[in-house]
């Protein structure tokens, strides 16, 4: 709980993690609500809009512990930008949540020295690129899964890739530079050393490293997600199983249902895992521990 000492290098106390989480959630959530409310301009299929203020989570991931800042930001987006505006999209959010947290986390760990502008700039772009790449991959996969025998339809596969590729470039160049690169490079040096004491922390310094257990391969993330999904199911089964009102007759009827549900859950898990792994292969081996993400605390 609250008890700890701050002798170790850059280990945060539970409460400090919570502070970073709340800070990131509130601010990125607020910015999301603002960007949702600002209308966007279309030029044919190209959308000129403020897609997101990625600089907020990027800045926080670079200055603080990237894991909690990243998860806080993603959750902030879901809560302020989706649930509160009545746009919560269920499973779709899960995919966004994972992609965005992952991208921001990697960008945060990439920076060793927050005072080095080149590193900060590179990290900001990297974050946007990873996020957009995952989103594009998932979108392509969706068409893949959704259209039966995709190869049999001439031109469709190519067009999906081209359209997604185009929006990828558009987002990276437009949002990436204007709303990630420039503001992050402006903000990080200004806030470094100034914002940390407000949360009762020491600024990250050049020699701080995150413990290796946090940088983990894709296999762990996949198991993590599977376990989480399983936990979800078991929790549900056990809870409803012990429900007093649950009458014996119903159990039989619902037995089949649970098989369907678990099948469905398994499929979505597979889908996410594949997409994450595909994009991971090309990128980097920095990966976060998905299990930890479940325990933001």
């Amino acid at each position: 709980m609250g008890t700890q000492t701050l002798n170790n290098r850059y280990t945060l106390t539970q409460s400090q993690k919570m502070m970073v989480f709340i800070l990131s959630m509130s601010l990125y959530g607020l910015s999301n609500m603002i960007t949702e409310l600002v209308p966007s301009a279309y030029l044919g299929p190209i959308e000129f809009s403020i897609e997101y203020f990625a600089f907020i989570p990027l800045t926080l991931c670079i200055l603080f512990h990237p894991l909690y800042a990243a998860i806080g930001a993603s959750l902030g987006e879901v809560i302020f930008g989706e649930i509160m505006l009545g746009q919560f999209g269920g499973f779709g959010e899960l995919e966004k949540f994972i992609a965005f947290s992952l991208a921001m986390y990697i960008a945060g760990t990439f920076v060793r020295d927050p005072k080095n502008r080149k590193q900060v700039a590179a990290a900001a772009l990297l974050g946007v690129i990873i996020h957009q790449a995952i989103s594009a991959t998932v979108d392509i996969l969706k068409v893949w899964v959704g259209v039966e025998e995709l190869e049999a339809v001439p031109g469709l596969a190519e067009s999906v890739v081209v359209i997604e590729g185009f929006s990828f470039l558009n987002d990276v160049l437009f949002s990436g530079i204007l709303f990630a690169l420039l503001p992050t490079v402006y903000l990080v040096p200004r806030l470094y050393g100034k914002i940390e004491p407000l949360l009762g922390m020491k600024p990250r310094d050049r020699n701080d490293r995150y413990s290796l257990t946090e940088i983990i391969g894709p296999r762990l993330i996949a198991t993590g997600i599977l376990l989480a999904a399983a936990a979800f199911l078991f929790e549900f089964l056990s809870e409803s199983g012990f429900n007093v009102e649950w009458e014996a007759d119903f159990l039989e009827t619902y037995g089949d249902w649970f098989i369907f549900v678990s099948l469905g859950a398994a499929f979505i898990v597979a889908l996410i895992t594949i997409s994450v792994m595909l994009s991971k292969k090309r990128k980097t081996q920095h990966l976060k521990n998905a299990k930890k993400e479940e325990k933001v605390s």
Partner: protein, 565 residues
């Protein structure tokens, strides 16, 4: 009686700080006591209170030594959560302590998370105690500032703690609400709870507390019964604490024996004092051209229940050059709305507002900003750049003023900010922030300045400093409007006082016409300065607004007596 809190030889230093904030503090508080902690900014009052619920040393890391016992439990060996069941803490920035969207949910939050099955009953009871039971299903956003403060109190009362600590309970409240919250604390104290408040307003201390702790620079200077403590006028003044006005006055006129600390005590002691004749010079005001005119202005906004809330009703008002106006009245009387209308940031529903001959409705706020500046109640809303210097120069720089640097340097000097020029405005202390926000406002070179509660949340010494600075501003500005609950400020600064009540201007006059009108004071919920009330109760005919006035009149009376004796 057995002490409920024992602090033994505690020393504490925040991480990164260069000197300890508490030096070998030893202290004990009895069960059922009502203690007020006095001390200037940075004396370690809040730190001391954080010892009691274990936030120090559990939550704040830093160098800690000594021992704290709360109800016999060693704070070091018990978690914050365990101690918090016995110690409730209401923060100065209590807004951030409220974490749930609805009133009842916030009151339930603590007992629920301690796993207490009767959490709902506890919450209902706590809301009942503070008088918020009718608001229980409201959203926090629907509450006024004072109600939020009461809710923060209810949310800790729901755990039924034995010790209640409140950090500056009345800093942001108008006098009526301030009294209300103290009456609740008194009731809780009568039920056997131990109450600890951090307080700058010694008049409340005199009226409610039983014992007083004086702190300075991390040391406890004394702990004494309230009467003795407030009688240490010299010691208090030396540490920038101002005893109640009656005590100050009694000390200055050399009352023998124990000094009075409340009006009730003062009257029999001073009954023999008579006011003397004195010629007062009335300042002549030149009636210049009007700077602002309001004609039948109404203003309302849509509330979340989709009804329109009428904030101003048919307001008519003219502000001339040379007007230094204090705008007074309870929270919610419409003071802030009136001022914001002048800035053009909000628009009236009906009526006409003209600022320096321009129709406010038709002129963009950006252009009005060159004539009028609004100083927010929370100075942080004024800080947009990353250091004091840049913040002050922002306006001039945007307009490419070639003399920016020189002007900024002058302003820094005028507001005693030169040493802080490179610091981030948001990281300054309350008084420094206030000065910086004033400098930002003056840096916009306006004709008219509007200030919202410029002395709220400041200790009395800082308050006096700001009052002095405001006095100097009169030469730089054509007119000033100050919305305030601080009647001492209103008396010292204003040559015109406008009283608002429920969206209407119910009086427009001077301090004399306001404070001598008993019905008006009652209706608008105003408390004149204590010394004014004292003089009146003593039967003096001439109104007295400051301790110095009182002494002056008294002294001349002595001289007068001397002549005729």
């Amino acid at each position: 009686m057995k002490p409920i809190i024992e602090i033994k030889n505690v020393k504490y230093q925040y991480p990164g700080a260069d000197k300890p904030v508490l030096n070998h503090v030893s202290l004990s508080v009895d069960k059922g006591d009502f203690v007020a902690i006095l001390g200037g900014n940075g004396s370690g009052k809040s730190t001391l209170c954080k010892l009691i619920n274990g936030l120090i040393p559990h939550y704040y890391v830093g160098d800690y030594s000594g021992e704290v016992l709360v109800k016999g439990m060693a704070a070091e060996k018990h978690k914050v959560a365990e101690l918090s069941r016995h110690v409730g803490y209401v923060y100065q920035d209590f807004e951030n302590q409220i974490v749930s969207p609805k009133v009842i949910e916030d009151a339930e939050f603590a007992p629920l998370h301690y796993g207490l099955a009767d959490y709902h009953e506890r919450a209902v009871h706590a809301l009942d105690v503070v008088g918020l039971i009718d608001q229980q299903h409201k959203f926090i956003w629907q509450l006024s500032g004072g109600q939020k403060h009461l809710l923060a109190l209810a949310s800790i009362l729901s755990l039924n703690p034995d010790i209640i600590i409140m950090d500056e309970p009345v800093a942001q409240l108008d006098p009526q609400h301030a009294r209300e919250i103290y009456d609740i604390l008194k009731k809780l104290n009568d039920e056997g709870k131990t109450i600890i408040v951090i307080e700058h307003h010694t008049e409340f201390v005199a009226a409610y507390a039983r014992n007083v702790i004086l702190m300075d620079q991390g040391d406890v200077l004394f702990k004494k019964p309230v009467k003795e403590a407030l009688n240490e006028v010299d010691v208090l003044l030396e540490h920038q604490i101002y005893p109640p006005q009656v005590t100050q006055a009694a000390a200055k006129i050399g009352t023998s024996g124990i000094l009075p600390i409340t009006i009730g005590e003062a009257i029999p002691l001073m009954a023999s004092i008579v006011e003397c004749e004195q010629n007062t010079v009335h300042k002549l005001r030149t009636e210049d051209k009007p700077l602002v005119t309001f004609e039948d202005v109404t203003f309302s906004y849509k509330t979340i229940t989709r009804e329109r809330d009428q904030v101003l009703h048919d307001v008519n008002l003219t502000i001339h050059q040379g007007d230094y106006i204090a705008l007074v009245g309870n929270n919610g009387a419409g003071k802030s709305s009136l001022m914001r209308l002048i800035t053009g940031l909000v628009k009236q529903e009906k009526g006409q507002i003209a600022l320096d001959g321009k129709d406010v409705r038709k002129t963009p706020p950006e252009h009005l900003a060159e004539i009028v500046t609004y100083i927010h109640q929370n100075p942080e809303h004024m800080f947009i750049d990353d250091c004091v210097k840049k913040d002050i120069g922002f306006y001039m720089k945007a307009r490419k003023d070639p003399r920016t640097e020189e002007k900024v340097a002058n302003l820094l000097k005028q507001f005693e900010l030169t040493d802080l020029a490179e610091r981030d405005s948001r990281l300054l202390s309350g008084g420094q922030q206030r000065r910086a926000s004033l400098a930002v406002g003056v840096g916009m070179q306006p004709k008219l300045m509007l200030l919202d509660e410029p002395t709220a949340n400041l200790d009395i010494a800082t308050r006096k400093h700001i009052t002095r600075i405001l006095e100097e501003l009169k030469t730089q500005l054509q007119a000033v409007v100050i919305a305030t609950h601080d009647m001492q400020l209103a008396c010292e600064f204003a040559n015109r006082i406008i009283v608002m009540h429920e969206g209407r201007i119910i009086h427009d006059g001077t301090k004399a016409s306001v404070f001598t009108n008993h019905n008006l004071l009652k209706k608008a919920g105003l408390n004149p300065p204590q010394i004014f009330t004292l003089a009146k109760k003593l039967g003096w005919e001439r109104p007295v607004y400051t301790v110095d006035d009182f002494i002056e009149l008294y002294q001349s009376k002595e001289a007068w007596d001397g002549v005729h004796a």
